[in-house]
Amino acid sequence: MRLNYPAHVRVVRVPCTGKVDLIHILRAFEKGADGVYLVGCMEGSCFYEQGNFRARKRVEHAQRLLEAVGTGGQRVQMYNLSSGEAPLFAQYAREMSERIMALGPNPAKLAMDVRQGKAA
């Protein structure tokens, strides 16, 4: 299909979204990510049965924690699609990208940049 999606989306492959833990999401923000989203299989069609449900709960937990620390819960999102829905994959990437653009950079990254003298 050769579909395009925003070039700044970095894909991290995992065997199942159920592999993604809360700490992975938080560390991504500590390392400067502006947003994190998980794309899992359709609910009910997880090969491991519960993986994408677990992922959703962890995303919701991450949203609460990120809200409390001032990063903002909207920077994390869970999406579901089937492996045959490439256009939807590209659409989710655009949707998340637009949301993050509107929110601006991760405030923790800006603080780290200032500390390292990299601020614009």
């Binding site: 924690l65 620390v69 001032g70």
Partner: protein
Amino acid sequence: MIVAKGKPLEEIIEAVKDCDSILVAGCNECVTVCEAGGSKEVGILASALRLYFLNQGKKTQVGEITLQRQCDREYLIQARESVESYQMVISMACGVGCQFMAEEFANKPVQPGVNTMFMGGALERGVWSERCQGCGSCLLARTGGICPVARCAKRVLNGPCGGSSNGKCEISKDVDCAWQLIVNRLKALGRMDDYEQIIPLKDWSSDRAGGPRKVVKEEVRQ
């Protein structure tokens, strides 16, 4: 095991927000099993705090350590160097570990990271239930292995009370009546004669009513 649950992040932030450096200290025993204060939860809290301080433009250092046990001096003294290099400690251990930490490092402010709930076990992943209140004189032999002190809302020793209905306690339809469970179990064991025996007044002096308790075992004491 001792069952605990994490304190709300907002409460922890409020307690540590003015600190320059914080050590988040976990425990490898009960709180690891009940997923409240093991190395995994330490990592999550430390990461969240680092993000908080960065977002606030503060340079607060947040370190992580997980001890084999916090309720044991033997392990606490091994952490001395780490503890001494931070301004404050958040103990993710139960109330016992947190207090031992505070006693060992008398000049170090120690903040609990969890609320210690009870002695119990897991019914399923993510669900823990109370089983023992440490009353100091165990009745389980008489009650079919089900504790009326920990599991009956009124601690009735010759139950059930009049509030038992369809096997549930009057405090909530989600709570089993302990005495219904006891009767069911005694029936299954063919020991209903035991049920007819009145349990005498319990000596509560071995419970908290007698003040803070201590166990001394002379044969192993040094």
